[in-house]
């Protein structure tokens, strides 16, 4: 089922396919229902021209249009939405230069994707109060451990194949599509959303979602059942350490992007811990909403 097919199905379920159909009911005799309401407003009311209601005054005109509403379809969608909305800022701070796991102020930050200086692609995003720095991103942990959320951006160099048991580090890519395929098939992660092409953060690439499996995990230690360092390994960049996963049930969202001028595909990873707090997830999503990848 393609996205366009889904879109057409939603369009087919549109309760008001043509707003002009509302014109007759917008001028019906239910106007009086709202005159009382409008009279409670100030006397400084606007003048409007609405056809049939001309001459009955601005209150009538407004009220007539909103008085009677057509349609046999009622779809309740009104929900309070207090998600913080951040906006990009030009004076971003480089996260890689800050001490890891230290609290950082609200504001705009960027990661130098492969850590090799000014030639690399950058991922810039805005976070609110309460986050901490990581080498290639930032994290928020309202309680401890399994609740954390994070956003990482890096030029992917190697991938663990698989992440647990007889792990080998294999070269990533070279294309974004190849890396996405490796993440889906070689890492041992449980794929919850298959690889699909995507345009994200101003770049072209591929998207998939995954979860860290139970295999090898022993509470509370982590993954001692995995050989080597006792970690469920993920991926690396050339200039900083490997990304590993701490908890089964961690939800991972990946965007693998081909960015002009970068040495390899840029990997964006959003992580949601299995015990994460909803407010933190909203802050993570707000940060993702501001993320821009630039060559």
């Amino acid at each position: 089922m393609t996205h366009e097919q889904i879109r057409q199905m939603i369009r087919g379920a549109n309760p008001v396919k043509d707003p002009r159909l509302l014109e007759p009911v917008a001028t019906s005799d239910l106007t009086i229902e709202f005159e009382e309401r409008m009279h409670m407003q100030t006397d400084d009311r606007p003048s409007v021209d609405s056809g049939k209601t001309r001459g009955r005054g601005p209150i009538v005109a407004i009220a007539a249009a909103v008085a009677v509403l057509a349609g046999g379809v009622i779809f309740y969608l009104a929900t309070r939405d207090d998600t913080p909305v951040a906006t990009p800022a030009p004076n971003a701070t480089e996260l890689n230069q800050l001490a890891e796991y230290e609290p950082i102020d609200a504001g705009a930050y960027y990661t130098d994707a492969d850590g090799d200086g000014p030639s690399t692609a950058r991922g810039t995003f805005v976070i609110v109060e309460g986050w901490s720095s990581l080498i290639a991103g930032a994290m928020k942990d309202s309680t401890e451990g399994a609740s954390y959320v994070s956003l990482l951006i890096g030029e992917v160099d190697e991938l663990a194949s698989p992440g647990c048991h007889n792990t080998e580090w294999v070269a990533a890519g070279p294309s974004a599509e190849a890396v996405a395929g490796q993440l889906a098939t070689a890492t041992g992660l449980t794929i919850s959303d298959a690889v699909t092409p995507v345009t994200a953060f101003g770049q072209e690439g591929y998207h998939l979602m995954a979860e860290v499996p139970e295999e090898g995990h022993v509470a509370p230690e982590g993954f001692p059942g995995c050989e080597g360092d006792g970690e469920f390994d993920g991926w690396t960049t050339a200039n900083w350490g490997n990304r590993y996963y701490q908890f089964p049930g961690q939800r991972l969202e990946f965007w693998v992007l081909d960015v002009e001028g970068a040495g390899g595909p840029i990997l964006v990873e959003a992580t949601i811990g299995p015990e994460s707090v909803e407010a933190d997830e909203e802050e993570l999503q707000a940060a993702i909403d501001t993320l821009v990848i630039t060559p």
């Binding site: 087919g12 509302l22 309401r37 909103v66 509403l69 990009p88 699909t196 345009t199 998207h207």
Partner: protein, 184 residues
Amino acid sequence: MSWPADHRSRFDLIWRSHRLEVLAYCVRRVSAVDAEDACAETFLVAWRRIDAVPAPPDTRLWLYGTARRVLANQWRSVSRRSRLDEKLRSIGMSPVPDHAVLVVQRAEDREVLEAVRALAAKDREIVLLDAWEELSREEIASTMGMTRAAVDQRIHRAYKRLARMLEPRLMTAVSPPVAEEGGT
């Protein structure tokens, strides 16, 4: 079309040009009673903040964004609801028994709308602005106060999630009875 300097003329232009679009926007999202409140409030906000309303082609997007915030903070009057319900009956429309109830014509539509309703609030709104208001990605970004990239990312993920939800439901809904097979 020029953008009048005079406030009343400007509001009149906004009203004539966009009242049905805003009304449709509200009707698509909430019950009739809530929609009428929201639409009226949206235009009252436009009047009070007439200098903040952008000239075309952004006027409609500003009104959608205002209506979205109004709907998110809506207060409903039970007494007025009952009066309007009565009048809706008189013109052959069913009043809403409950705001959480979907009243739809076709089973497929119901499945689709239930899936859309299961999306996160912002993702849902973006999908509806795309599919129902037929806004471009740039227009959605403007209405939602997001970057174009954020809209791309959210809309991609939302449609993927909808596909995952709808495929099994619709397969079940349209599959003919399967004849029992004998062993071989």
